[in-house]
Symmetry: C2
Subunit: 204 residues, 2 copies
């Protein structure tokens, strides 16, 4: 199967961490695909007209988007460990944490798009709102970290780790660790996970 991939995308990283944890990474052919908001890439558009990565193309031609769907598909391929709990309270909680981490990433991407505009077209009210929501979301993760840590490593941890890694990658100035000692400690452990090391996000 073919994955539209980039070493810069935190959403792509989620799927590759999942693949490593699930033992299916060697079944994925990674194709470097550059997805820029304002320049639709024909190679991606042919498979995913939203021009987003990751996009996974199966052997039979079926196209799977987005990162959450791809992670769930990879989970089903695994004959060993799993990263999605079975239906029940643990699943709804894990999916909800993972969705909140994805929502934080979505917000950070929009924030970056806005702050990279020429100053005369930048909207300060947007940036203020992004800052407030990102801070509140990180605070909530700090408060709920004990509950998150009590669960087996899975989709919620992968999503949270990728969001925090993206903060270090593009928002180092934000100092997200300040006032969030539990999250900072947890992330040190995440960074040492072999699947996190194998998929480190970089500007290549």
């Amino acid at each position: 199967m073919k994955l539209h991939w980039s070493p810069r995308s935190p959403y792509v990283r989620k799927t590759m961490i999942a693949a490593h944890v699930l033992g299916v990474a060697d079944r994925i052919e990674r194709v470097r695909s550059v997805a820029v908001m304002t320049r639709p890439n024909p190679a991606i558009m042919a498979d995913n007209p939203l021009n987003k990565i990751p996009t996974l193309v199966l052997e039979d031609g079926t196209v799977l988007v987005d990162s959450r769907v791809i992670c769930e598909y990879l989970d089903a391929l695994s004959s060993g460990p799993h990263i999605f709990p079975a239906p029940g309270p643990a699943r709804w909680q894990a999916l909800s944490w993972a969705a909140r981490a994805d929502g934080l990433l979505d917000l950070l991407i929009l924030w970056r798009n806005e702050r990279e505009k020429p100053s005369e077209t930048r909207t300060a009210a947007w940036i203020d709102a992004f800052r407030e929501k990102a801070g509140a979301t990180l605070d909530r993760f700090e408060q709920e970290l004990a509950a998150i840590e009590s669960q087996p490593f899975g989709i919620a941890h992968i999503g949270l780790g990728c969001a925090l890694g993206y903060l270090d990658f593009r928002f180092a100035d934000l100092g997200w660790r300040e006032g969030r000692p539990q999250l900072a400690r947890w992330y040190r452990g995440f960074e040492e996970h072999p699947a996190a090391i194998a998929t480190e996000i970089i500007d290549d």
Copy 2:
């Protein structure tokens, strides 16, 4: 359970259509919650620090986000029909169609935010890219409609119907039906579904 709700949100509408189809709508207490991008609402932020709706608060206090997660939770409550296929090819395909419909909605919301800015801060290149990607995504749904229609009514149909309904609501000028006769025909049927009628999106 309490749902942060608005009659204007296509994501909220997805969850309410799901609730009607699954026969659990009367278990949901809807709370009118206004979510504006630049004015975080304390009532929403207390439950979901991303300030997004729908947000569902269960009796035990567990908070579920986002619309996809809430739909899957409601599906599990149903003792009758289901809107998510069991794990297997039909599920991955349905989830992927649903994710593409959500991606279209995400893009339309960003497009609307951008085009409502004062003209001097609007970025034409963003709007051009939104137009190209939305058109290509609608074309792909047109091409794949026979396959979508061959599946039992579920999460993919709900997502697609809510995206098309939002186009009529906020992008009537786009004329999305033009050149897409299959999608236009299918949407006429969707509009007549009792769950679609019960949840019609409006400016109240």
